[in-house]
């Protein structure tokens, strides 16, 4: 009986001892792995910070302005580009007739010049006082092949005048 008791305690002590060490080494290796990962995260965060600063440097207004000047030539937005309501948007101009286009009979070209007017009318709010037919017939009656707009502003002015 005494020998059995001793054996039991001996077994218990060695088991607990082994278990303790096993847990300890397990924890140590886990801690090592955790620290490795944390170091990797910190390194990554530092890299992100450096990239952020580099991005800020590469996109500073001065550089963007210089690149715009070289590749895009965009200018500041001017007031007349800022239209506030739909009615401010001008109608699309009737397709200008080329100067060297063959002179055709007045009645033979409705499909060409009437189409843009119709497509423009879809974005225009309903304006019953300006029927399409009137605009179309006016365009047909006066083809004006010589007055070809040279700039967008001129084109807009022409359309505004024809309305």
């Amino acid at each position: 009986m005494i020998k059995l008791g001793t054996l039991f305690w001996l077994a218990l002590v060695s088991t607990t001892g082994f278990a303790t060490f096993a847990v300890k080494y397990g924890v140590q290796s886990l801690e090592d792995e955790l620290n490795r990962t944390r170091r990797a995260i910190i390194a990554e965060e530092h890299a992100i910070r450096a990239d952020d600063a580099e991005w800020a440097y590469l996109t500073r207004p001065e550089t963007l302005d210089e690149m715009n000047r070289r590749h895009l030539s965009l200018g500041p937005i001017v007031t007349k580009q800022l239209r506030t309501t739909v009615t401010d948007i001008p109608l699309r101009a009737a397709a200008p007739v080329p100067v060297d286009a063959p002179v055709v009979a007045v009645g033979e070209q409705p499909a060409e010049s009437a189409q843009p007017t119709i497509s423009a009318s879809t974005i225009e709010p309903p304006s019953p006082e300006k029927p399409l037919e009137v605009a179309a017939t006016r365009a047909l009656a006066k083809p004006e092949p010589s007055r070809r707009p040279r700039s967008l502003d001129e084109l807009i002015a022409q359309v505004a005048a024809s309305r």
Binding site: A53, T59, R60
Partner: protein, 590 residues
Amino acid sequence: MIPTQRFDDNPCRPRHFKPPPCTAITPDGPAKQALEACRTRLRVTAGLFALVFAAVALRIVEIGAVGGGTTESQIARFRMVTEPVPSHADIVDRNGNVLAATLDSPSLYANPKQITDAAQATDKLVRVFPTLGAAEVHAKLTSGKSFVWIRRHLTPAEQFDVNQLGIPGLDFEHEERRVYPDGGLTSHVVGYTGIDNAGFAGVERALGDVLRGRREPLQLSLDLRLQYILREELQRVVDDFTAKGGAGLIMDVNTGEILAMESLPDFDPNHPTAVDPGHPAIPLADRMFNRITLGVYELGSIFKIFTVAMALDSGTATVTSTYDASHPIRIGRFTISDYHGKHRVLSVPEILMYSSNIGAARMAVAAGAQTQREFLARLGLLKTPKIEVSEVAAPHYPAKWREVNVMTIAFGHGISVTPLSFASAAAALVNGGILRQATLVKLPAGYAPQGQQVISAKTSEQMRRLLRLVVEHGTGTMAAAPGYVVGGKTGTADKISGRHYAERKLLSSFVGVFPINNPKYLILTMVDEPHPNKQSHGYATAGWTVAPATSRIIERIAPLLGVQPVDESSPEVQRTLMVESLQGKRIEAY
């Protein structure tokens, strides 16, 4: 004593096995004492052991069940790696663009004892760093020491290149460095740092304690895009008029937030002491000088807005009041005359429109010295402004407020204030009369700090109408930005040199507000000692220098700020801006 005989249960047992006729010995004398001492010692020892084991057991219970003790290991290897807090937090603008960042900046060093082929290593290093002298590097690598610096503060790209070389014996030491990606653009606001990232100027210095040990970036009210536009336009004025310097700020009149603040010339905070290659002649002190917060100036005619507001608010004048401006005023050794003289009786709107010194002086005298002083104090013009940069200056004003001071202060001479104080006070005149402290730190969206009502809302509305008049018909017509309803006031002051005013040295400034019918943003621009040029027809006054710049700035920034252009001639806009006393009258050009 009779010996007691125990009862023998087995009479057949051999005799020597028989229990002796014995009894408990109860020793007497010294023996008894020795025995007792032994017992006591045993008990004490056992008690001590029990105590220690109990302590161990209790500790185990505490660690296991109660959660006492630390999880931190005493052994360095098992200690948690924690992220090093950067010594200073980043600074970003209101849209999150980085203005200042703390970066890990590796420095390259070599251990010459480990370098096998010094000549080859030198050759490779010089190819990565062309600015390093080959002879110098070779001397370092063959010095036989165990530590020599090759180059401090490398960029990540340079570090990558050095790693690519694969030279044994080279290593990096990690150091921290403050970098300013935008260079000189925000130098006067953000400031710069010295060794150990200690702030030496600007926000870096004033808010050093806030930045230190903080993780989240500090968000300023600045908008980098606006800052760039302001700086570019100011630089253009300075270059066009060969001026000594320029300054400007853009402020949200309803919150006091500063969206842009620039003082020219400026410096590169990454290399604060380096000479500007473009302008090597400009001294460093001049480039580091923040004209907005540290400079105090006699701002001249733009000060008349305060005179008019004071007269209207205190009730000593109404919009229809008139003052005789037909003759110059002589007081003591001074003569007050008009630059754009009309030589007749002028009404209050006309005094502002034509910028009449005589009219403003008479208006101030009618209100009185006490009223004027109190009014300026209420607007915060007689105390040092508070702002989140370390460079601020106190205003200069006469200790004794005599009549001549009243007259000169009425048109902005004899009192020197910082442009910052001026902007805060001017914002209060147009925003409904509420004075708010200017700030460089971004406020939460939709939050306006509690201000101080300094003038009535009615006076503020009258001021808006009058300021519009100046841009529509007065001295500030070139500041107009069609669609954005600009209102403002020009100011051209003679600079003091020594004890006298210098005729040819001007300080031209313009304060503009847009849209003036519903004020949102204030722009203050000034240019120091502009010289006339051909385009300006020989003028270097505010109307020809900074007023056109203000117009250009507004046209560029308004779309960014989301301000909708309106038709200025529409009846709704006209109604909010008309000045009743001038209705039906012919307004003559100044």
